[in-house]
Amino acid sequence: MRAALIALWAIVQRETLRFVSQRGRLLAALVRPLVWLVVFAAGFRAALGLSITPPYQTYITYEIYIVPGLCGMVQLFNGMQSSLSLVYDREMGSMRLLLTSPLPRWWLLFCKLLAGTAISLVQVYAFLLVAFFMGIQFPLAGYLLALPALLVSGLMLGALGLLLSSAIKQLENFAGVMNFVIFPMFFLSTALYPLWKMADASTLLRDICAVNPFTQAVELIRFALYAEPNWIALSWTVLALIMFLGGSIWGYDPSKSMIARKSG
């Protein structure tokens, strides 16, 4: 038990050190959603408001609508970045050092996941702080209740990154992740447009959006920011977390994994 906690502490510390030493990373994590908020949201007819859908009680501007989606985006990018660092670790050999630890591999992977999620939480709250000073404010209870929601969504998106990293052999292949994972997940979700708006364009598109785990994560964050539960979104996000984590533990198992098959 003590060894497991030492491992957890060491991995979290390593990830934190890496995050702190990469000064541009927090800045990049902040600038990306802020560009969306300032430029993209302004381009839409922000001033006339969106129709009322839960959890909103009244008309809201587009800037307010996209903030939960941008929180999700921060976590999505962070999850992918963590997976990128795993691929890098594998190439550099430090991964071998980590995996030779006598502790169970699933625990090591979970520690890695938790460390990445903790960093994403720092990034999201930094973004929410900037948004607060831009006049986009949520109830105080919302800021508190968003923490468990962000933890679940961060773990889910981190687990997806972990799963992808188990299948990617080289850093060069990571560009594909951008095209085939991040963009479709982000654009085919409720981060930028509500589901009813998608249904206007096509019901198929609406259905794809509805089953996208990123949509569920964004809705979980959206409701939590208004101190309201969304059990359906929570269930879907937890289900996706279990599937992605299970897949990545399987993927990193040397006896059955994709790594073993690829290297063998």
Partner: protein, 318 residues
């Protein structure tokens, strides 16, 4: 301990014990919103095209302009039953009850007249020729002047309530919609829908004192059309409905500066405060709902679906 808790609970609930009555222009109904739950608790069928709506000073009677029925209906707010009609002249749109609680000043839009009705004898006391398409109606707090604004003539007509004659006419910007005296009676505010302004008049001199313009980032100036407005009793804010701009402007009545714009529903038209003026209820015609604004922090709280094209609103304690 229980007593103290009960006391707190009673104080909290009694602070919000009232109703907001909303006239729905295209539904021929009134929606009654409970102030505490912010839900529609009653829908009452009334005459055709209900618009202007106000309560008697003791809240025992509701007066309602049923414009297409060419009458003012008197309704018992407890039972919701129409008691009788008042002879209002054709197409009554807005009206104001004189502080004497007896005389109703009605703007007859199609006939270019203002009708004064005695609500007790139910008789027309006077009919005064005014400009074309009269709409806005105001009475000074001391009751000495009534003001009618005419939409096409672009004027505010000052009526001496003793002689029931026009004593002055003042030009305002295009399409004046609503008029209101300040609580101390020193100023008269008139909104101009197409002009996009509010003109403030000195009551004694009957001359222009200030002009307020509105500008919302991202909204074309043509859409910014001031219509109804309400002043807080403490003289801190004036809330102005900006029609198709879908916003309510918050104006400081001392400096005449716009402090904020609050997003509400589509084509916001008129509004009413609750009893302690902690909340403001705006009627949003096109979206068919009422937005509740928290006056303490100037933020919208909730939007409530009512009938089609809500027009006016009035508060009644229960």
């Amino acid at each position: 301990m229980v007593r103290i808790a009960l006391c707190f609970w009673l104080t909290a609930t009694s602070a919000l014990a009232g109703e907001i009555w909303v006239s729905n222009e295209k539904d021929d109904t009134i929606s009654v919103i409970d102030e505490a739950t912010l839900e529609v608790v009653r829908t009452i069928e009334v005459g055709e095209r209900p618009r202007g709506i106000t309560f008697s000073k003791d809240y025992k009677r509701l007066y309602l302009c049923a414009s297409d029925s060419d009458t003012v209906q008197v309704i018992d707010p407890v039972t919701g039953k129409i008691l009788h009609d008042l002879p209002s002249g054709e197409d009554p749109e807005q009206f104001i009850l004189h502080p004497d609680n007896k005389h109703l000043y009605i703007a007859n839009e199609d006939d270019a007249i203002a009708t004064v009705v005695d609500v007790e004898s139910r008789k027309v006391v006077a009919q005064i020729d005014v400009g074309i398409e009269p709409e806005g109606m105001a009475v000074s707090p001391d009751g000495s002047f009534a003001v009618v604004t005419s939409e096409t003539t672009n004027m505010a007509h000052w009526i001496d309530t003793k002689s029931q004659k026009i004593v002055a006419n003042t030009l305002v910007d295009q399409r004046p919609r609503h008029a209101e005296f300040t609580k101390d009676g020193d100023e008269l505010w008139v909104s101009a829908e197409i002009g996009g302004t509010i003109t403030v008049f000195d009551t004694d001199k009957k001359s222009e004192k200030a002009k307020i313009n509105f500008e919302i980032k991202g909204i074309h100036p043509d859409r910014v059309q001031p219509v109804g407005f309400e002043m807080t009793a403490d003289g801190k804010y004036v809330f102005v409905a900006l029609g198709p701009a879908n916003h309510v402007a918050v104006v400081d009545p001392k400096t005449y500066q716009v402090l904020d714009y609050i997003l509400v529903g589509r084509r916001v038209w008129h509004m009413a405060f609750n009893g302690d003026q902690s909340r403001l209820f705006t009627t949003n015609g096109v979206s068919g709902d009422v937005t509740v604004i928290d006056v303490s922090n100037l933020k919208p709280l909730k939007t409530i679906k009512v009938g089609r094209f809500p027009w006016g609103a009035a508060y009644r304690p229960t």
